[in-house]
Amino acid sequence: MIEVEGLRKEFVVRRGRFRRERHVVTAVNGISFRVDRGELLGYLGPNGAGKSTTIKMLTGILVPTGGHISVAGLEPSRKRIELAHRIGAMFGQRIQLWWDLPLRDSFELLRHIYRVPADRHRANLARFREVLELDPFLDTPVRQLSLGQRIRGELTAAMLHAPELLFLDEPTIGLDVVAKQRVRDFLVEINREDGVTVMLTTHDLGDIERLCNRLLVIDHGSLIWDGGIPELKERYGGERTLVIDLEEPAPPLVVEGAVVDRVDGPRQWLRFKGSASEITSRVAEAARLVDLQVQEPDIEEIVRRIYMR
């Protein structure tokens, strides 16, 4: 679906109002990756790392300085219009709907812009109306919508022409918990049921945990991680915690490879590295277990570790 090879983007920045001091900034410095159809991947990175620039190049907004890009078999900067029919994009903090018109009218206008036949449009819209619960505010002018409502409208707008690929730039920013969940459920549905490939940039780790099965992390223009989340946790996760419930309260267990962090009655928290099953069997030899649980480290912690490496 997406093939990126040695992608580079350099900007020429001029400092000062009248002085012509030229300064080349490399926003994206030779990144390569592949995305297959049907993936739902997250694209993470600190501010200024090159996330937005990459997305803009993938969608055809920006022209790369070097390297090779292929999206849905097309070169985005050259085949912008052809590609536009097959992708959808939503930029969380910017508005693509018509400000003064009712939401319904924006959808109608987009139907014409994308040349979607009337019955197909009606069917698509009906589905999104149901899934995202748009009916209560379908006739309200966009400028009067709450952020959550507007984002739902924007998502619909991005998907109405049934694209194969969806790019999202910070889709859940500023939303409350309920709204975020709704957006996430929607993305999961279109990915699992319609096979839409989704690529989203986000700072929200909840999005990543709940949505993405693969993560790309970019920093200072280079890709520093490309892989699944379990591997990420293993590589950078370091220590995990085994929470055990004993038959009766006991002094802290002494088990090779684990350190007891906390004791609370019959429950103990053990920190360990490496294989959970090994530690578990050692613990089981040392005491009588009623129940146990393995806790993963916080992904926030992991991401922080990646950035700091």
Partner: protein, 267 residues
């Protein structure tokens, strides 16, 4: 192309419907627009209270020029006047999404906003046109009618081209957008009066380089049957459509080049 017109009509229709919903606000707006544009004609009347001719032009002839300039400018304003807001749109980052849609960017920008209230200026200009036509003795021929009729869309295209080229500045600098006003609003003001009253350098710059003289001066010379006080070749009186086509080309190329710059320099 036909499809583009169809889509444009839909886009504009939706906006008109929405704007008409707020009737009182629309009425007040339109009323204000009418009077503020009427001032320009009042000035013409005041001038002719003091003299009977401006060079070789009498009040009816100047009214005719005024009407043509005013109507065509007002229609242009209605169609693409929101280009004045374009620099802000770029600053807000709202241009990018246009590049993700399967349509030309200029088309989308032009079709995305339509201010119905500006129709008041068209009405005002039309009233003056009726006044002018009723007081002038024009020896109508088929060719004269043709030249007059064709001059209207030609003028609209010329004004639009000026506006579009001006808007392109926003792609290069964030602050330069306001310079366009001098040429759009200044342009229509200039075209309201006969070109021979202006000094040569001004005439050349704003009449030919920026082809405002073809908006109504040259067509009017032919329709009114006047000999050109400037003594310029007569075929110029028929050149409005050609000039309009060239202007449109220049505007289109400038826009293309500007978007290309935007797409490589940062977006």
């Amino acid at each position: 192309m036909v499809d583009a017109v169809f889509v444009w009509r839909r886009l504009v229709g939706a906006q008109i419907r929405s704007q008409l919903q707020y009737r009182l606000s629309f009425a007040l707006d339109a009323f204000g627009s009418f009077w503020i544009s009427f001032i320009d004609f009042l000035v013409v009347l005041v001038i002719f209270r003091n003299v009977s001719r401006l060079n070789e032009w009498n009040v009816h002839e100047v009214a005719f020029l005024y009407a043509l300039s005013s109507i065509t400018f007002a229609v242009t304003d209605m169609l693409i006047g929101q280009l004045d807001q374009f620099p802000q749109k770029i600053r807000d980052g709202n241009f990018d999404i246009l590049l993700v849609r399967p349509r030309g960017t200029l088309f989308q920008v032009i079709a995305s906003d339509f201010a119905l209230r500006r129709v008041a200026r068209v009405v005002q200009g039309s009233i003056v046109l009726v006044y002018a036509l009723s007081t002038l003795t024009i020896h109508w021929t088929v060719l004269r009618v043709l030249v007059l009729v064709v001059s209207v869309p030609s003028a609209i295209v010329i004004f639009s081209s000026i506006w579009v080229v001006g808007a392109c500045i926003a792609f290069w600098t964030t602050d330069g957008g306001e310079f366009t006003n001098a040429f759009t609003y200044g342009g229509t003001a200039m075209a309201q009066y006969p070109f021979d009253i202006y000094a040569t350098w001004l005439r050349r710059l704003l009449g030919f380089v920026i082809p405002l003289a073809f908006v109504c001066y040259f067509p009017a010379l032919y329709v009114l049957g006047k000999t050109d006080p400037l003594g310029l070749p007569r075929f110029l009186e028929f050149c409005s459509p050609a000039v309009a086509a060239v202007s449109a080309l220049v505007a289109g190329l400038t826009w293309r080049s500007a978007v290309r710059h935007y797409r490589s320099a940062g977006g």
